[in-house]
């Protein structure tokens, strides 16, 4: 492990690395690429369909995230099926269910999908409240699972500490709060009075805790002056907004997402909140890009769940992203979000693992073989290089965030290209085998303990 760096060196290094990362994408390890049809499968492959269960939000305010996830999954499935299916034989079939039916209903539906529909793979899931519920069920049922979101640290820290069947593709959640903290500290190093508005469930709690942990190390003397915990699905934020303004913060960290964020920013605009404080978010750019209007203020730190926004890597810099955005737009007549990339890459990750296992042993690989290939696998995705850590089955990629700016080419704000930061994931998350909560420490996450004890001396 590297020696801890001090905060100035760390903050200065972030911009430089961003430049390097955008300039030389070719130095990335070249993993299996989407839309490479050259693979010749060995042995006897059954041609029965490959059944996939996908639970995501089809309704409600969270649909802004669920919809692009579903579209990303279907696009990948259609592309794979156009080549004849997995290993050229097994067409991907998808059963979709609504995550908005509630956690208990999701648990029941996953059991039904496996036991009654006999799915081969389970994917999807947006809410951080649901993966810790579904993860143990998936392990119990022995169903191969690639969550494309619901990225709470609790899943692999507590609910499934030793995963076998369960994997997750998008970045770990603690990195989300830390990424926004780094972005805010770099942009507004003098902002010491912090306000926080978070949805009242594990995601909001996680963002709040990790943001504050990191921010107080990055901006010495920073203090929390205001907090609000609206329930998920809140439509009236006016009292929260007035309270935030009255507490006179320098910077606001906002983890409100989906349709809730749209309602929040529209109301905040009418109350002049954006003129009174700097605003950092974790998920303003988390939904469908067109859900945010051009009335959204510029210069807001717009999080994309520390994962992906379609304008980065910029056109011409990373061909995988260029072609993904183009194909996605052609298919759905809209631009992809981080959920689109997550769901799309999840299916391609599976494809890569199946092909690798087939290359080694021939025939259709069993789950154990696929799992062995997935552990430690690296792959180029539209968002950049994705690595599945073998110890906790969690996907990691360098995190990214930027400031909102209107661009005449789009009907919605995008990231100001000059403001985009990428942060190497290894610099902001606990390394493998770091003690989990409840072993040698009682922090809420392994990452929180790591941040507290070793980060930025």
């Amino acid at each position: 492990m590297k020696n801890p760096v001090d905060r100035r060196t760390f903050l200065n290094s972030i911009g430089a690395m961003a430049a390097a990362a955008t300039a030389v994408p070719a130095t990335y390890f070249a993993g299996p690429r989407p839309a490479h049809a050259a693979f010749k499968p060995k042995g006897n492959i059954p041609d029965k369909p490959f059944k996939t269960g996908h639970i995501t939000f089809l309704t409600g305010p969270a649909n802004l995230l669920g919809e692009p996830g579903r579209k990303g999954h279907l696009l990948a499935a259609e592309e794979i099926n156009a080549e004849g299916g997995l290993l050229g034989k097994r067409k991907v079939e998808t059963i979709i269910a609504d995550e908005a039916a509630g956690t208990d209903a999701n648990v029941k539906e996953l059991r039904r999908m496996k036991l009654s529909e006999k799915i081969d793979l389970f994917t999807g899931v947006v809410s951080s409240g649901n993966t810790p519920a579904l993860g143990p069920v998936a392990e119990e049922l022995g169903v191969l699972t690639l969550f494309n979101d619901g990225c709470t640290d609790f899943l692999f820290d507590k609910a499934v500490p030793n995963p076998k069947y369960v994997f997750r593709v998008t970045n770990i959640q603690s990195a989300d709060g830390v990424t926004s903290a780094v972005g805010a500290a770099k942009a507004w190093p003098e902002a010491k009075r912090v306000a926080s508005i978070q949805p009242d469930y594990s995601y909001g709690r996680n963002v709040h805790e990790h943001f504050m942990l990191a921010y107080q190390k990055l901006v010495p003397g920073a203090q929390l002056v205001s907090e609000s915990w609206p329930k998920l699905g809140t439509t009236d934020f006016t009292a929260h907004i007035t309270k935030l303004i009255s507490d006179k913060p320098d910077v606001l960290i906002c983890g409100v997402w989906g349709g809730d964020y749209v309602a929040f920013y529209k109301q905040a605009l009418r109350y002049g909140l954006f003129d009174k404080m700097k605003v950092a978010t974790t998920l303003a750019f988390g939904g469908q890009p067109h859900a945010i209007g051009k009335d959204h203020p510029e210069g807001v730190l717009a999080g994309a769940h520390a994962n992906y926004f379609f304008t980065f890597p910029a056109k011409g810099r990373w061909p995988i992203n260029d072609s993904f955005v183009e194909r996605y737009f052609k298919r759905w007549n809209e631009y992809p979000s981080f959920e689109s990339d997550g769901a799309y890459s999840a299916l391609y990750l599976l494809k890569a693992a199946v092909e690798k296992a087939n290359f080694l042993a021939g025939g259709w690989p069993d789950d154990d073989a696929i799992i062995a290939m997935l552990e430690g696998m690296g792959m180029d995705t539209p968002a950049g290089y994705l690595y599945i850590r073998p110890d906790n089955h969690q996907g990691y990629k360098d995190t990214v965030i930027g400031m909102t700016k209107n661009d005449p080419k789009y009907d919605f704000p995008i990231w100001d290209p000059n403001s985009i930061l990428t942060i190497p994931i290894r610099d902001i998350t606990a390394p493998p085998s770091w003690p989990k909560p409840g072993s040698s420490h009682n922090e809420s996450t392994a990452a929180a303990n790591w941040l507290k004890t070793t980060w930025l001396a």
Binding site: A101, K108, R111, S128, G129, P136
Partner: protein, 330 residues
């Protein structure tokens, strides 16, 4: 329309034994998934049975029974998480005490009223509990809920546990019989209650409160007792449901779940003893398959409910009994 006329006791015992035998043999024929669904059905049946002591026998419609179901389930989760006690028997004991205390408290407030006031009061009180479970994140996990770790659970004072390979199958098939036995006990106890002098007094209250008061029935106290028994049955259902679901969330405390308990009972028919049992099992299948087959599952359930109330107000059991009666007369 008295709920007590029916076949003689020996004949009833034969029918009950036959039904129990069928339930005991079912898992061999229907496989893992259907067995699990049936466990859900049986736990809901216990809840509906308890609920119907109030609706069918005492004439009080509670729209807040989610509170007692949730209390049972959350108590199990707390016992396992905070006390590290994993014996199901101790969890049942703790859960029953908790649901006793809660229903005694809420019942005391509610039975001062009848009719719609009673319903609304029961609902409002249940929502207090919901908001506490929802808001006190550090205690209850908020909407994340609390996990009920099945692999640590032990049944029959540590005699059975569920660790290692094949644990899930073992759990489902073992737990089915565990729940079945408790279900049969619950049915027997409830049968004795409704046929006891106390049960008759409740029905007298239901049919005419004033007259019941005149003949010396302590109306309010009996209603309170019925409320507590009802709450404890529903609490037992929640207790048994918790390890089955593996997780408790505020969803089971939210008032639409109370509505589902009412739905089950009406579906089966609340004027008969067996109605809630049949209704709960049927409702469980109805909901699972409606959710699985359509995004618009609420529409399906709503239509079924409206049609039941408009066309078949006596529910499944009432309608079948009516048809059988007609056949016999012919």
């Amino acid at each position: 329309m008295p709920a007590t006329t029916g076949p003689s006791l020996p004949r009833l015992l034969v029918v009950a034994a036959l039904a129990a035998a069928v339930l005991a043999l079912l898992p061999m024929g229907i496989g893992l998934y259907q067995t699990e669904l049936l466990i859900y059905g049986l736990t809901f049946a216990i809840a509906a049975l308890g609920f119907n002591l109030l609706l069918g026998y005492t004439g009080l419609l509670s729209f807040g029974h989610s509170a007692y179901f949730g209390m049972g389930a959350y108590t199990v989760a707390f016992i396992m998480r905070d006390l590290h006690i994993y014996s199901m028997e101790l969890c049942i004991l703790g859960g029953l005490v908790a649901s006793f205390l809660l229903s005694a408290l809420f019942g005391y407030v509610c039975v001062r009223h009848t009719r719609i006031f009673f319903s609304i009061l029961a609902l409002a009180l249940s929502q207090v509990l919901w908001s506490l479970a929802f808001k006190f994140f550090w205690v209850t996990g908020g909407t994340d809920g609390i996990r009920v770790p099945r692999n640590q659970l032990t049944l029959l004072a540590g005699f059975l546990d569920f660790k290692g390979a094949g644990a899930y199958q073992k759990f489902v098939y073992t737990y089915y019989y565990y729940v079945l036995v408790l279900f049969l006990i619950a049915v027997a106890v409830m049968w004795v209650i409704v046929h006891s002098p106390f049960g008759k007094a409740l029905q007298a209250i239901r049919d005419n409160e004033t007259r019941a008061g005149f003949i010396g029935v302590p109306v309010r106290r009996y209603r309170w007792m019925a409320f507590v028994i009802s709450g404890m049955f529903t609490g037992l259902a929640g207790i048994l449901w918790a390890p089955l679901n593996g997780l408790t969330t505020p969803d089971i405390l939210y008032w639409p779940f109370s509505g589902e308990i009412v739905f089950m009972t009406v579906l089966g028919g609340f004027r008969t003893f067996t109605g809630p049992i049949v209704g709960a099992i049927a409702f469980n299948y109805l909901k699972v398959y409606a959710v699985a087959s359509s995004q618009y599952w609420q529409l399906v359930l709503g239509l079924v409910l409206v049609v039941m109330v408009m066309v078949l107000p006596t529910g499944i059991v009432g309608t079948i009994a009516h048809l059988l009666g007609k056949l016999r007369r012919r």
